[in-house]
Amino acid sequence: MSGMSIVTLNRVTKTYRMGENTFDALHEVDFEVRQGEYVAIMGPSGCGKSTLLNVLGCLDKPTSGHYLLNDTDVSTFDDDALSEIRGKLLGFIFQSYNLIQQLTVLENIEVPLYYQGVGAAASRAKAQELAERVGLGHRLHHKPSELSGGQQQRVGIARALVNEPLVLLADEPTGNLDSGSGAEILALFEALREQQKTIIMVTHDPDIGRQAGRIIRLRDGRVEEDTRNGFS
């Protein structure tokens, strides 16, 4: 594996309080992700996959431990700074696409650029370019409700790529799709891997896990297994 470490988790713990009991959704999780890696995070439900993704996505802060993103410790950042990080360095792809229903394809793709303060013309051009790259050049002015699930997820991917993020975070991107559209989406991810994009994907599907170069298995909030290219 080439490249420097982009994501470093150092004894990251996330504790939730439920009444009098506390419970660790993540317990002293340690790992690194290098530039250009394609990582699948797997594990049974309730193992802390979502919590981990939220922490990685700067939507949630760890209770203890450190999270270094691009050599910056973001675990102490305040809300504004975290928003800034999300908008600049991260791209989100969701299981349920999470497109804004009242906006068109093009407008949905533009949203991250808007919050970065990119001008109207530039962001329109960029969004159009990405829509074409994911094969939606003919659907620019449709609303999400007029698209198939696979098409909606492509919009989601285009939106995640529009700000040229350091890391792509995907939460079961094929979970809501039939196998045909799922395969198309995975082909897109494959292409992204070839472009040396760093991808961290939560998934249930062992096939997708195999496609990724590295699998991190979680169980009860701990890293159970970390295998690269099939070897531990």
């Binding site: 939220n54 996505g57 939507l59 949630d60 809300d79 504004d80 928003s83 800034e84 999300r86 908008g87 600049k88 989100f92 969701f94 999470n98 497109l99 804004i100 229903q101 009242q102 949203v111 991250p112 808007y114 919050y115 970065q116 303060g117 001008g119 109207a120 939106r159 700000n163």
Partner: protein, 440 residues
């Protein structure tokens, strides 16, 4: 956490971003047309009622002030009134009730007060006025030549009588235009004769109706309004000679006689600042040797001040009512925005995940509320300006839309948008992004 980020609200550092936020706001509102329109109604009614109420209030106040002003703000008006039964000092034998202002009173006022410029004593006799077969129930008013000047009466045609006609007790008259319209519908009244009782009077002029005389006093709370009839004016001296001073009214089985020298007198003061002081002195002079309260004094300046105070109170009350209706409108907007925030929790989560800061979310929702209330305000201003016009046409009332009323109402509505938008916007901004994304 949760505090309003002022740096964020001054998001004008990026006008392009602000412009697009506003465009997005309009788009979202347009998406929920019916709901937005209904929400706006509260503000529309609020703004519209502020303007319309102020216009009606302003108009009514203006009308009252106009009437009072026509009485003359430098004038003190004295009127004879019949004493009430228990005050009356009855001379059972004579059966003639003597009361009212006398020539003697006038002379005393004139000699005591140097600042008094003119006295315009008058007599008022209620009688029928005839021309050929037409008849009008009128007040025959005996006055001095300078009466019109004091009362601000405009002479339409002809002239008022001259001092010579006063000297000579000449039977001439000046009729008000309402009398003219009724007695001489098809011809010019000038140089024609009208008959009162058994005497004929030559018409030498027409004046506008003295609307100020009875009505203003009534409007300002004085007595003496009510049965107000059109007037014809004759020289005071002629009135004295032709009608005498005793008026006898016959009723079934009894008769009543009144002796009144003057029914009305107007005292004009040189300087407006002296009016109230002079009024007090005149009152003192008249009250000194009277055994009964047989006159009343009306000071238009005081009435004017009262009317102004009344108008102020009126405006304050109206303003308060209107403010309450705007408040209700604002609460309606807040209600809808809170519902909208809940409904769009997911969208808020998505936007946050894609890099929106709290202040971006605040701005987005605040812009929506301000658009709602501002648009409502504009529509309200349009209605608020049109409705008073309709009111004046239909109800024949004076309405005055002062320029500041729409401006005030609109600014308040915009302010309502900001004030009532802040809470829903903060609520949206303070949502936990993770929770918001999980929201169904």
């Amino acid at each position: 956490m949760g505090s309003l980020d002022l740096r964020g609200l001054i998001l004008l550092f990026n006008p392009g971003k602000l412009r697009r936020a506003i465009a997005l706001g309009f788009k979202t509102i347009w998406l929920h047309r019916l709901r937005s329109a209904l929400t706006m109604l509260g503000i529309v009614f609020g703004v519209c009622s502020v303007i319309a109420m102020l216009a009606v209030g302003e108009g009514a106040g203006h009308e009252a002030q106009e009437q009072i002003r026509r009485l003359g703000s430098q004038n003190i008006i004295l009127r004879s009134v019949k004493p009430t039964d228990d005050e009356r000092i009855s001379d059972e034998q004579s059966r003639v009730l003597e009361f009212g202002l006398t020539y003697n009173d006038m002379r005393r006022i004139e000699s005591t007060l140097p600042s008094v410029r003119v006295l315009a004593p008058g007599r008022i006799i209620r009688n029928h006025v005839y021309h050929a077969t037409r008849r009008v129930d009128a007040e025959i008013v005996g006055v001095v030549p300078w009466y019109t000047g004091i009362r601000n009466l405009r002479i339409h045609t002809g002239r008022f009588f001259s001092p010579i006609e006063i000297e000579g007790h000449v039977n001439v008259c000046v009729i008000s235009d309402s009398v003219a319209a009724r007695l001489f519908p098809f011809m010019s009244p000038l140089q024609r004769n009208v008959r009162v009782g058994s005497d004929y009077y030559r018409v030498i002029g027409i004046v506008e109706s003295d609307a100020g005389a009875g009505q203003a006093a009534a409007a300002a709370g004085g007595s003496g309004g009510g049965n107000y009839a059109p007037r014809i004016y004759i020289p005071l001296t002629a009135a004295r000679t032709r009608f005498g001073e005793t008026i006898i009214r016959r009723r079934a089985g009894s008769f009543e006689a009144e002796r009144v020298q003057l029914h009305e007198a107007i005292v004009q003061v040189d300087r407006i600042e002296d009016v109230e002081e002079t009024a007090r002195i005149v009152d003192g002079i008249l009250a000194r040797d009277r055994r009964q309260q047989d006159y009343e004094m009306v000071v238009p300046l005081e009435l004017l001040r009262q009317a102004e105070r009344t108008k102020q109170i009126f405006n304050t009350v109206l303003g308060a009512i209107a403010a309450i209706s705007l408040l209700v409108g604002g609460i309606g907007i807040m209600n809808i925005m809170l519902a909208s925030v809940t409904e769009r929790t997911r969208e808020i989560g998505i936007r946050r995940a894609l890099g929106a800061k709290r202040r971006d979310i605040i701005l987005q929702f605040l812009i929506e509320t301000v658009i709602l209330s501002g648009t409502g305000g504009v529509i309200g201003v349009v209605f608020g300006v049109v409705i008073p016009v309709v009111i004046s046409r239909v109800a024949d009332m004076t309405t005055i839309v002062t320029p500041w009323a729409p401006m005030l109402a609109f600014s308040i509505s915009a302010l309502v948008g900001v004030v009532f938008g802040i809470y829903p916007a903060m609520r949206a901004a303070n949502m936990d992004p993770v929770e918001a994304l999980r929201h169904e």
